[in-house]
């Protein structure tokens, strides 16, 4: 294992947006998360919580509600008054429909999945019929005085509870009329607050309505009589979200103090059938408002302003005490936001609405292992490129030579040419993009920067030859017959002959660029691909999956390599398989063909294929081998995985040249420091 000079980059000033809604889909075990910038992300909980899809946001589209219908259909509604359905295959928006009720605050799908209910600013509750390819307005319920902030269906679909300001209405779905109006106490710890906002309601099958409100209360109402049954005061601030489990034996609420409370239905005594709701465990995993919670059969899921998505498994529901029983905290997107020009030592950072280009600093000093070297030239912020229009950037890329930058939003594709004149940089937009190049899910430049590969959201792959100041469309690989699945990962071989692409679920396709035809398809695997790369010289394709498996596939031989077979036979170390975050980047050492460099958010690893594989008994996370130890022992204990956990959270790591690494970190403290201050809580002893 060689020693590297590492650029430790901490100037990537990226702040993930806060989480606004989460929706859990029991059938597919997927979780939809919408963020305050309008982005919607789909996590596959079965695939190790991998973020497999995402829909870029839009400035004008603040999502306020998100829900799944009929299994696989995802709807969102927002303050622009539109209901949006997403196309989960093509990763774009199927249609947007205006509800004509002003901003939409809440949305709920009927238990049978055939009807969609939205609550609007003007106090109207609108019922939509979900047709196979559209939604259709059916009727309005009785109009209320103020905005409808929350909606909850009775599991039988006959009644609906709607939370407004200061009161909860119960509607009869058939007639659309309000059956009950339950007034909520404005009192807040003895002080009368201005208004009591019902942030969430849940309707249980026994007719109980649970409401959470801005006064910090969780209240149980009897919907048959419209009376308050029980009141739990749990927070000094707003309780903002509620989610009930399918069995209706537990629910979870999230508060503005960052605490998530779990309520359980427990029997009063062991031999009586009488049951009561009891607040059980509080979880304090957030520092800021918990805007959204979800309750999967085995876990409590919460997300909030502090941008973390927290998945807290319920110990009693987990059968085996394996790694699934551990708490997960997802902060960073599982895709690359950074690209790097090795030749010019440039880093391109992708933000929601702009790109930043930085030149790495350099040093002339040398030092021992572990030394921090002084910079002789500081890192330079070369370029700040703002997008046009309200749409968020989907993907971006800088060419290895550093003279091209490409990025794409949902509707437009941009390509820029960079000219370097000493320290001055001039930027020139390449105009007249062809019509087919409207939006891209992934962009990649070939190693020699002469070709541009664009994965579009129709499932097609475009190959474009770049000329000085212009380009030429070479070919388009059409998706396999019938599938419209989008490709989201691309890898090109350093010699430029091979292009590998992977979609959200199906296998990896390898194309021959020279002949512009499909070369082969890697056998498909159950778990989505998280990273792809083609090794130089050998043209081995290395594929990392979300279950932490790593495969090596020889493109010329069209089969898995011997090493890959060995490691599959022996299996990975259990600690390797238990890692939290997917591998997001793979690279290779130009001089050491046996090395594979890969990283996730918490570690950086060099796999040395020449060394024996570790078994479960060996230490996986070995500290850097002490130099004092004799070489014999070191060699005996050495195994193929050299892991370094110095840099975290690690967003990007790549090899600039043989002796230099660049690592981009984003310390969590920096993110928290830039968030709005959390609700102040008195802490004992301070």
């Amino acid at each position: 294992m060689g020693e590297f000079k590492v650029h430790r980059v901490r100037f990537f000033n990226y702040i993930p947006s806060g989480i606004r809604c989460v929706a859990y889909n029991n059938q597919s075990n997927r979780l939809a998360v919408s963020r305050t910038d309008g982005t919607v992300e789909i996590y596959n909980l079965s695939a190790n919580y991998f973020q497999e899809k995402f829909f870029p946001g839009h400035e004008s589209r603040a999502t306020e509600a998100l829900c799944w219908a009929k299994g696989q259909r995802l709807f969102s509604a927002g303050l622009n008054g539109e209901i949006i359905e997403y196309d989960l295959q093509a990763l774009n928006i199927k249609y947007a429909m205006d509800a004509f009720g002003g901003p939409i605050w809440s949305m709920a799908v009927s238990p049978h999945g055939s009807q969609l209910l939205v609550g609007c600013e003007d106090g109207s509750v609108k019922l939509f019929q979900i047709t196979p390819d559209k939604i259709q307005f059916e009727r309005n319920f009785d109009r209320q005085k103020s905005r409808i902030l929350s909606l909850g269906w009775h599991p039988s679909g006959t009644h609906v509870a709607a939370g407004s300001i200061d009161y909860i209405s119960v509607f009869d779905v058939k007639s659309g009329s309000a059956v009950h109006k339950m007034l909520v106490d404005r009192q807040y710890m003895g002080v009368s607050k201005r208004k009591c906002i019902i942030w969430g309601v849940a309707f249980l099958s026994d007719g109980t309505v649970i409401s959470v409100d801005s006064a910090g209360k969780v209240q149980f109402w009897d919907s048959a009589t419209g009376t308050l049954v029980k009141n739990h005061l749990i927070a000094n601030a707003d309780v903002q979200s509620i989610a009930v489990s399918d069995q209706e034996d537990s629910f979870v609420v999230g508060t503005a103090e960052g605490t998530v409370f779990h309520f359980q239905l427990v029997s009063v005594t062991s031999n009586s059938s009488e049951k009561q709701w009891v607040r059980t465990k509080p979880f304090q995993h957030h520092t800021h408002d918990v805007r959204a919670v979800a309750h999967s059969p085995t876990a409590l899921i919460s997300g909030g302003t502090d941008t973390h998505l927290v998945i807290r498994p319920l110990m009693e529901k987990v059968e085996v005490k394996n790694y699934d029983a551990a708490l997960r905290k997802i902060t960073f997107p599982h895709r690359r936001l950074i690209s790097c020009s090795k030749k010019r030592q440039l880093l391109l950072f992708q933000f929601t609405h702009h790109l930043e280009l930085w030149r790495l600093g350099s040093t002339v000093a040398t030092g021992k292992n572990g030394d921090t070297l002084p910079l002789s030239r500081d890192a330079d912020h070369l370029l700040h490129l703002k997008t046009k229009g309200p749409e968020n950037i989907i993907c971006s890329c800088i060419s290895p030579c550093g003279s091209w930058i490409a990025y794409s939003t949902t509707s437009r594709f941009f390509l820029y040419r960079l000219n370097y004149e000493h320290d001055n940089i001039s930027l020139q937009r390449v105009s007249k993009m062809p019509a087919f190049l409207r939006s891209a899910l992934q962009i990649l430049f070939s190693e020699d920067s002469t070709k541009l590969f664009v994965a579009s959201n129709q499932g097609s792959l475009h190959v474009i030859r770049l000329l000085e100041g212009s380009f030429k469309h070479l070919h388009t690989f059409q998706p396999q017959s019938g599938t419209v699945e989008s490709m989201c990962l691309l890898a090109v071989s350093p010699d430029g002959n091979w292009l590998a692409s992977s979609g959200t679920s199906a296998g990896v396709h390898v194309y021959n660029i020279k002949h512009l035809k499909l070369h082969c398809t890697v056998p498909s695997y159950n778990f989505p691909v998280t990273a792809l790369a083609i090794a130089p010289n050998t043209n081995n394709l290395v594929i990392a999956h979300s279950d932490q498996q790593v495969f090596e596939y020889s493109i010329p031989d069209k089969q898995y390599t011997e090493w890959s077979r060995t490691i599959q036979k022996q299996g990975f170390h259990y600690l390797w398989l238990q890692r939290d975050t997917p591998i997001t980047h793979i690279s290779f050492h130009p001089k050491r063909p046996m090395h594979i460099l890969l990283h996730d958010a918490y570690m950086f690893c060099i796999i040395d294929k020449s060394l024996p594989l570790p078994n479960d008994k060996t230490l996986l996370y070995n500290p850097l081998p002490p130099t004092k130890e004799s070489d014999v022992i070191r060699r005996r204990t050495a195994h193929a995985f050299k892991i370094s956990k110095i840099y975290k959270p690690l967003l990007f790591m790549d090899l600039l040249d043989e002796r230099t690494l660049v690592a981009v970190e984003r310390p969590l403290d920096d993110i928290i420091a830039q968030l709005p201050p959390p609700i102040k809580k008195k802490k004992f002893g301070t």
């Binding site: 710890m189 749990i234 359980q264 427990v266 062991s270 009891v278 059980t280 509080p282 009693e316």
Partner: protein, 802 residues
């Protein structure tokens, strides 16, 4: 009624009047648990270390039945559904292994019944009754120990065990369970933890689906928990001295009753639900209404960790005055075993936390027949940061209390070592002298402090004296107030109090002067000084010469205000000895060897209301006043010529160091009470249960108390010893009349417990004393020849006395 365990007794107090109604006595060892008979609410079960369970009729105070179990019983529980059996905690072989067993109580009409039928219920439990709770009408029993919660279901006959991992939280989480309580109606167990958390466990009949929720307000260990009768609220208490009521078991809905004065040790709820009661570490029981208003306080002598002020007698009330609650002086009536009142000296909120350096009330003195009280408080965080304050309080006749008159910041540069008033009648002007380590003594006098707004008096410094920069260690006024003696390390200086002129000095070069006092009445020409090196010197003020000296390591020297006598307590490796003597004669009036095995810290003479007339030479010194002394473990002991029972035999010549009325609270402080409290919380019938200090004046307990506390700090040991001695002394009492015999018997008895006890017989005692005398002679032979003769005299006289 409220019940409390106090030593071997169970006391029944009225909740309304706080008065002790009955004392149930009959156990021969520490009572460890009491419970109401679930079948008859006018009966009470009690269990004791002596291995018996007794059934009482507490209304009349009659013992109904005694069940002999045989094991040492650590706690007792009764259940309504288990008609004929009770649950007790016993320990098996190993000292730390405790088991909960059920005992079948056979039905029989006889008074003494053997109950040998034990059936095992739970093991690995804690001996404290706080760590066991029965829930839901006896469906299950929950026990906690360390990190385990064990629940045993009687119907299913299964045990579930829940563990809190101690290492889960690396931040030194103190997850240990400290107490447990069960909801009376629901399947809910509340457990208290060392880190101040309260966990509410539910669903614990399922090993996997159990769940708990946390309530966290206490910042320190939760001492006790109790559910209200209906289960709607949970009470908790701890070191914060705040009773917390959690309504509906929700974190946000809690009520507090703060400033209860001391750590809450136990909480109990009356069966009727209208009263709560808390017992505190400072020997206090508070009865609290359902609406969290304290309705009655049953207060014994307040225990404080440090008695700096020593024992004093308030000249007005004849109450014993000493440190009480932190920052307070307590006035304690010895006659009634009752606290009269607390005087807040420091007048700051007391924050109860470890590691905080508090303001300490270090000195106090009464002057002018109780008209004035001087107090000194200090706080020292670092070597150089001394905060010192002297306060002078005037007695206000209207309010019948002390009112702050003058506050002096930093009266001296360093610690004040002594404080005394001039109590002579001829001085119209009250005078106070303070001696300090800074090498000065200051005289403070009362002056007119009137201004245009009001007439007032205040204290100002009148004179500052020093002697060669030596530290002033003691000061003392002569009886007539004409002379002031101030000791500066090894030197005693005599000052004229009229002119503040230095009259003469005495120097013995025998170490720093530790105690200094003038003789009284006929002996007023003598000045006594005790030094650190173990020399007691008596100077004649007329001749300015040393009258006599003796080799004695004096710990306490107290003059009797009503006579010439001076009592001195000396400390030796074998224990503390008391000498009573007149300064005029080097021959002691009275010697009591071995009054206490531990160090005596303070002593005081308390004038008797009615002088007694003891004809015997040995007791004449007790005619006008009683001598009380306080040992290191804070037991307050006194000398009595006879105990109440023995008044029946008036000729009795016994001299017993008796634990008298006031002493009991202290004795409970000794550690017994604490232990008893641990032993069991009691239940009460119509009202409640509680534990109270024993205020019984039982002579039998007497001498034994010398030994217990320091020998074995462990409470259980202590108790057993105590009980043993009690038992035996009673038995022997009838026959034994002579002092030496009683001593011998008692010593033998206590010898059973402790090898350290010496067997004294008449002869050996004599021999011992002879040895002692020789010893003294031997030592003295090293000193100057002149004195030697005197010493011989002294020695001889001692021997004759013996």
């Amino acid at each position: 009624y409220i019940f409390c365990v106090s030593g071997d007794f169970v006391k029944v107090h009225s909740t309304a009047t706080e008065e002790c109604v009955h004392i149930l006595q009959g156990h021969r060892n520490l009572v460890t648990g009491i419970q109401l008979n679930p079948k008859n609410h006018l009966q009470l079960y009690s269990c004791s270390f002596d291995g018996t369970i007794k059934l009482w009729d507490y209304i009349d105070g009659i013992l109904i039945k005694t069940f002999t179990v045989g094991h040492k019983l650590h706690a007792l529980f009764t259940l309504a559904f288990a008609e004929d059996s009770v649950f007790v905690i016993i320990n098996k072989e190993k000292p730390d292994v405790f088991q909960l067993v059920s005992v079948k109580l056979p039905k029989s009409s006889s008074q003494e019944i053997e109950a040998k039928e034990l059936s095992f219920v739970l093991d690995y439990i804690n001996q404290s009754p706080k760590c066991i709770a029965f829930g839901n009408e006896g469906e299950y029993v929950a026990a906690v120990r360390d990190f385990y919660l064990s629940v045993y279901f009687f119907k299913k006959k299964t045990t579930s065990r829940f563990t809190l991992s101690s290492s889960k939280n690396k931040k030194h989480a103190k997850n240990n369970f400290t107490c447990v309580a069960c909801h009376p109606k629901e399947d809910c167990i509340a457990t208290g933890h060392k880190d101040g958390k309260i966990r509410l466990w539910r669903n614990f009949d399922d090993d996997k689906k159990y769940t708990y929720t946390c309530l966290h307000w206490h910042h320190d260990m939760v001492m006790d928990l109790a559910f209200s009768v209906t289960g709607t609220s949970l009470l908790s208490g701890g070191r914060e001295s705040v009773l917390v009521e959690w309504r509906d078991a929700t974190e946000k809905n809690k009520e507090f009753l703060p400033r209860l004065g001391a750590t809450i040790e136990h909480i109990s709820v009356s069966p009727a639900g209208d009263l709560f009661c808390t017992s505190h570490s400072d020997n206090k029981i508070i009865i609290i209404h359902r609406n969290l208003e304290a309705s009655a306080v049953i207060q014994g002598l307040v225990k404080d960790s440090n008695i700096f002020t020593g024992l004093m007698i308030d000249p007005r009330t004849k109450a014993l005055v000493l440190n009480g609650k932190p920052g307070h002086l307590q006035f304690y009536s010895l006659q009634h075993d009752k606290q009269l009142y607390n005087l807040d000296i420091i007048q700051q909120e007391y924050i109860n936390d470890y590691g905080l350096i508090q303001i300490e009330l270090t000195k106090a003195a009464f002057g002018c027949y109780g008209n004035w009280l001087a107090t000194v408080e200090q706080r020292q965080e670092k070597e150089t940061e001394l905060e010192l304050q002297m306060k002078l309080w005037m007695y206000n006749k209207k309010t019948q209390g002390f009112v702050l008159n003058t506050k002096i910041n930093m009266p001296h540069e360093d610690h004040i070592t002594a404080l005394c008033f001039c109590n002579a009648e001829k001085f119209e002007n009250p005078t106070l002298v303070t001696a300090s380590k800074d090498g000065h003594f200051k005289v403070w006098i009362l002056t007119d402090d009137s201004d245009i707004y009001k007439k007032a008096v205040g204290w100002t410094c009148d004179f500052v004296g020093s002697y060669h920069k030596y530290q002033a260690t003691n000061c003392c006024f002569s009886e007539d107030g004409s002379l002031l003696a101030v000791s500066f390390e090894e030197i005693v200086t005599i000052w004229d109090s009229e002119t503040w002129e230095l009259k003469c000095t005495f120097c013995q070069r025998a170490g720093n002067i530790r105690h200094l006092c003038f003789g009284r009445l006929t002996c007023s020409k003598y000045l006594l000084g005790a030094t650190e090196n173990g020399i007691l010197c008596c100077w004649n003020l007329l001749s300015c010469a040393l009258e006599w000296s003796a080799k004695l390591t004096i710990r306490v020297m107290e003059p009797d205000p009503c006579s010439e006598n001076i009592a001195a307590v000396s400390q030796s490796s074998a224990g503390s000895d008391l000498f009573v003597f007149k300064p005029s004669e080097p021959r002691p009036l009275y010697i009591q060897k071995n009054i206490s095995r531990e160090e005596v810290q303070w002593g005081v003479f308390v004038p008797r209301d009615v002088p007694e007339s003891f004809t015997s030479e040995a007791y004449q010194w007790l005619n006008r006043s009683q001598f009380y002394f306080l040992t290191k473990s804070q037991s307050l002991l006194t000398f009595s010529t006879k105990s109440p029972e023995e008044k029946l035999t008036p000729t009795s010549q016994q001299l017993l160091a008796e634990e008298s009325l006031p002493t009991t609270p202290f004795y409970f402080i000794l550690g017994k009470h604490r232990q008893q409290q641990d032993k069991k919380i009691n239940e009460a019938l119509e009202s409640e249960l509680v534990q109270l200090p024993l205020t019984e004046n039982i002579p039998a307990i007497s001498e034994l108390l010398h030994t217990p506390a320091h020998v074995l700090p462990s409470a259980s040991f202590l108790c057993s010893k105590f009980v043993n001695s009690l038992l035996l002394s009673k038995e022997t009492k009838s026959g034994e009349e002579i002092l030496e015999d009683v001593d011998m018997e008692e010593e033998k008895e206590s010898g059973d417990d402790s090898d350290e006890e010496h067997d004294f017989t008449e002869n050996t005692q004599d021999a011992n004393d002879t040895d002692l005398g020789e010893d003294i002679i031997h030592q003295l032979s090293k000193s100057e020849e002149k004195e030697l003769r005197k010493f011989r005299k002294v020695d001889y006289s001692w021997i004759t006395v013996l």
